[in-house]
């Protein structure tokens, strides 16, 4: 991938200090790396590890109070340290170095057309006149896979979908032919199918224009397939760098090993539990004594607590220099450790539940339609968020509900919880109508765990109050009993007792999610409905929560419905999977069958889009066309046909039913008999514009 071998970017001993109320936050500590032209450097790390701050430091975008220092900061032979902000903005950033941000929904200005925003970048740097800028914008829009570029120029950001906006952002970053692109979590806000397309586009563009890229992500799968070299950041430091294959396949630093063991791999059918990294990221305020990772490290030695570890350099197996900031000598049995970590067996579920076939919760032809009025006197449109769903939840199983954002999975969760009233059909809890059961009765059977642990707890109530609230509400027990019960639950979910009087803002995201789980469990329900329970959490915390859910299930015999878009979580947790598309279930099946032999084209594409961790592999070409359609304008016939690579004429006219094989597709019988080959189609091209 790399053609020339002169370093484009040299960073030596970069530090960023940000003064905060409680002292000085050492956000980036002593980071050094070089970047060749055309090279892709992936930076991984959990939130708060300083990966975004270091890139902002390069772009001169730090908050005004932050202090940046480095012994060397050189870009294409020019010293960035000696450069004033003005010169940096005029000559380097936006022109030779540009950035793609995480949130495509907010990084474009909503009041200007796409065309204006694109041409502005070029005109601002005096790289050409209006006409040239327009031509370049047209060329790039086509390059990034947006057809009808001419009409796009006149459109406003709100007329484009998230994926399309991110493509515009990429075009924007490329306007001045930069030599370096910094992409900060460019696909985190996007659906899996779009993620694969965007990452593929970025790497292809890097190859084509010989650009270097710094790709910042928490997603090891994405990094493994895009980066040439990887840097692992922890607590403001680069703890390990090296060739992507070296670092991810033969990790040296205990943190890298831990991170890898936490990530669900979707590789085999292993029944082992995910690894975890105990504890939390340390506060970076004030001086960090010794190794920042020491308190979470499984290999901790006494010395680690007092002395900062040396940065060891050694040759990687795949060439290039590797660095690891650890007291352990290169070549210690890190690899063996990485393999051996997966020893904890997960408890076999079949032993716990004997009633595996009884339906506890079932939805029968459930629909939920909303009337949407665009203006006061405009006609009401019907939004079919959930449209005729039949789904059974069997006692003791973990049913995963998968789908892209906007497919109605959260609405279905609300329906099943009885928070939302179905427009048609009914939901039965143990054969009784859910809406007819009293709300207290319902609360004792069904409890939710929500996605965002920051918004699922009342910020004005203490942890103890939040967990004990159900007991108060249902008037169960005396005050002392309640207190004891809350403490029992806190212990069960692994919360230290001293947090009883803490407020949600004083504890970490993972702990909050534990609180939410404890609150859900205190009524001793038998069904938990988890709506994206880990998507707001870091991988190391995610693995803790997922393992906790599995443990609790083994201990209490719970039934789970897990709603998620993350297929690796599904693969790790589920026993059965239901795939949802535009308000309908398109395929239901046992995990083994669905993951290894999907029948519906949509399921197939979803699975193909998952970026499994395979260092050095390319991003797979996904065959999905179009953007996720607008639920207000349902396609005729099969709802998936506009994006389906296999669509035939019948699909456009006749809507398929969920057949006896539990697949909603006219062609399912043919597909399941075929091999993995599929008809190639236009990939990466979005045909449709959502309103």
């Amino acid at each position: 991938m790399t053609s020339s071998r002169d370093p484009l970017l040299i960073i030596e001993n970069l530090t960023v200090d940000i003064p905060v109320a409680s002292g000085i936050l050492h956000a980036v500590r002593d980071v050094s790396f070089t970047l060749e032209r055309g090279e892709v450097l992936g930076i991984v790390g959990e939130s708060g590890s300083g990966k975004s701050i270091s890139s902002l430091a390069l772009m001169g975008l730090l908050p005004a109070s932050a202090k940046r220092a480095a012994s060397k900061l050189e870009f294409a032979g020019r010293d960035l340290l000696a450069m004033s902000d003005d010169v940096l903005a005029r000559e380097i950033t936006g022109e030779r170095m540009s950035m793609i941000f995480q949130e495509p929904m907010t990084s474009l200005n909503p009041v200007y057309t796409i065309g204006r925003q694109l041409t502005e970048v070029m005109l601002l740097h005096g790289k050409g006149n209006e006409r040239e800028a327009r031509e370049r914008a047209l060329y790039l829009l086509e390059k990034v896979g947006l057809p009808n570029a001419k009409t796009r120029l006149e459109q406003y950001p709100h007329q484009l979908s998230g994926g399309q906006r991110q493509r515009v952002m990429i075009a924007l970053a490329l306007m001045n032919e930069p030599e370096l692109i910094i992409a900060d979590e460019p696909t985190t806000a996007l659906d899996v199918t779009v993620q694969a397309q965007i990452l593929r586009l970025l790497t292809d563009l890097c190859d084509e224009f010989n650009m270097a890229m710094i790709l910042i992500s928490h997603d090891l799968g994405a990094i493994s397939r895009t980066a040439d070299r990887v840097g692992v950041m922890y607590a403001g430091q680069l703890v390990e760098t090296g060739h992507v294959k070296d670092v991810l396949e033969a990790p040296q630093h205990p943190y890298t090993i831990g991170l890898l063991s936490c990530t669900p791999k979707m590789k085999d059918n292993s029944e082992s539990l995910l690894g975890t990294i105990p504890g939390m990221v340390p506060s970076l305020v004030g001086e960090v004594k010794g190794c920042a990772f020491a308190n979470r490290c499984a290999e901790r030695q006494n010395e680690c607590l007092h002395r900062s570890p040396p940065l060891r350099e050694f040759a990687g197996a795949m060439g290039g220099i590797r660095r690891s900031r650890c007291i352990l000598k290169p070549g210690w049995d890190g690899e063996a450790k990485a393999e051996g970590l997966d020893v904890a067996e997960r408890v076999n579920v079949k032993d716990i539940t004997k009633t595996g076939e009884a339906n506890v919760l079932s939805a029968k032809n459930v629909a939920c339609h909303f009337n949407v009025k665009k203006s006061l006197f405009g006609p009401a449109q019907v939004l079919r968020a959930v449209d005729g769903i039949n789904l059974d939840l069997r006692a003791g199983e973990i049913l995963a509900l998968v789908g892209e954002s906007g497919c109605g999975k959260s609405t279905l969760a609300k329906l099943l919880l009885g928070v939302e009233q179905p427009t048609a059909g009914h939901i039965q809890l143990d054969g009784q109508d859910l809406m007819a059961t009293a709300s207290f009765e319902r609360a004792r059977r069904l409890q939710p765990v929500f996605q965002d642990p920051y918004s699922s707890l009342n910020p004005r109530k203490t942890i103890g109050q939040s967990i004990g609230r159900p007991l108060d509400l249902h008037k169960i027990g005396e005050a002392t009993d309640r207190r004891r019960e809350v403490e029992r639950l806190m212990e069960l979910v692994g919360l230290p007792r001293r947090l009883y009087h803490s407020y949600p803002n004083q504890i970490s995201g993972g702990q909050r999610q534990r609180v939410a789980i404890a609150r859900a469990l205190i009524m001793k329900p038998d069904i938990l409905i988890c709506d994206e329970p880990t998507s707001a959490l870091d991988v190391s915390v995610q693995s803790q929560i997922l393992n906790l859910l599995l443990d609790l299930r083994a201990e209490l015999g719970l039934t789970y419905l897990i709603i998620t878009h993350d297929l690796s979580v599904v693969d790790y947790m589920a026993t059965r999977i239901a795939v949802m598309y535009l308000g309908q279930i398109v395929e239901v099946g046992l995990k083994e069958k669905l993951i290894h032999d999907p029948s519906h084209p949509y399921t197939r594409i979803l699975l193909d889009s998952v970026l499994k961790m395979e260092p050095g592999e390319k991003i797979p070409k996904t065959e999905i066309g179009g953007a996720f359609p607008n639920a207000l304008a349902m396609p005729s016939g099969c709802r998936f046909h506009p994006r389906c690579p296999l669509a035939i004429d019948k699909c456009r006219r006749v809507a398929p039913e969920l057949g006896t094989d539990n697949v909603r597709c006219h062609l399912s019988s043919e597909i399941s008999s075929r091999t993995t080959e599929m008809v190639p189609s236009v990939s990466g091209v979005e045909k449709e514009v959502p309103a």
């Binding site: 975890t276 504890g279 069904l446 004005r460 509400l473 443990d551």
Partner: protein, 306 residues
């Protein structure tokens, strides 16, 4: 499983040790006594209340006693002022200090009372509009538009005129006219909070609407309500001045700070103290409620708990 929990427990416990029973109430008390602004504001307000209650004991003169020969005396520090009347006298020769002390009673009662009446109306409507939405929101929105379109002072005048001026009437009329800020702010905040998952969690627990509003929503609106409340106290005192000036508020000769400003207005150009002194009094009262409000917000706000 046991083992992993132990690890999590251990590492969290090693972070920092907090003594066992530090209840939130105890911590809040501690924060209160450490918050300088809160202490200053509460102290000042407490002092004002004391002065108002014990006005008959402290005041050097009868506030209604007119000595026309000693009219418009300047305060002691100004030229021609004397120690007898520390703050001078008004246009009828009444001792200004005594009138200020007695006026504190009226102004405190009206300021706090009217702000409370407005608060109850505005917050109730705002939370209902924000929480229930739809038709209820539209109706309340319409009410708000009507209220904003009405000439407030005119309405107040006619209302007081019809019912007859008295302190409770003045309080309720001013309160009735000053709930719009509460409504606008609490409605917006409620709509935001309503979307959050902890409301959904409360609903799945079987909480009723009123339980959700009281237990989940109102505590989170406290910050905004406190800020507006302190603002409204000042506004209410001035509104009372306007009413009194028009002759439908507090009836002379009962002193109130607003009325004193109104009465002093005629002599403002050559006896500015007549307006400045009650102005300062109002200022002190508003600033002390403000400080107390801000302090209250700080010591109870979740962001300041770390």
């Amino acid at each position: 499983m046991e083992k992993r929990h132990e690890i999590a427990d251990h590492s969290a416990a090693s972070a920092d040790e907090v003594p066992e029973e530090l209840t939130p109430r105890l911590l809040m008390k501690r924060r209160m006594f450490r918050h300088k602004g809160f202490l200053l504001g509460t102290g000042l307000l407490f002092l004002l209340v004391l002065l108002a209650i014990f006005a008959p004991l402290i005041a050097p003169f009868d506030p209604f006693d007119q000595v026309l020969s000693r009219r418009l005396l300047p305060p002691v520090w100004a030229e021609g002022g004397g120690w007898e009347h520390l703050l001078g006298t008004d246009h009828l020769g009444r001792d200004y200090l005594s009138r200020l002390l007695y006026g504190a009673r009226m102004s405190l009662i009206i300021g706090l009372g009217a702000a409370t009446v407005g608060c109850v109306i505005g917050v109730t409507l705002g939370v209902c509009a924000g929480y229930f939405g739809g038709r209820i929101d539209q109706v309340i929105g319409y009410l708000l538009t009507c209220q904003l379109a009405l000439p407030g002072l005119l309405l107040a005048m006619s209302l007081v005129f019809m019912i007859g001026p008295s302190v409770p009437v003045v309080i309720s009329v001013i309160g009735l006219l000053h709930w719009t800020y509460y409504l606008v702010v609490t409605r917006a905040a409620t709509m935001q909070i309503k979307q959050l998952d902890y409301i959904a969690a409360a609903r799945t627990l079987g909480s009723s609407h009123s339980q959700i509003i009281i237990y989940e929503i109102l505590p989170n609106l406290l910050n905004q309500i406190i800020v507006i409340f302190t603002l409204e106290i000042g506004i209410a005192v001035l509104a009372e001045a306007a009413l009194s000036f028009l002759g439908v508020g507090i009836q002379p000769p009962i002193p109130s700070w607003g009325l004193m400003i109104a009465e002093g207005k005629n002599a403002m150009y050559y006896r500015p103290w007549l307006v400045i002194l009650p102005g300062i009094a109002i200022f002190i009262m508003v600033i002390s409620t403000n400080l107390m409000g801000d302090g209250l917000r700080d010591v109870t706000a979740p962001d300041n708990r770390s």
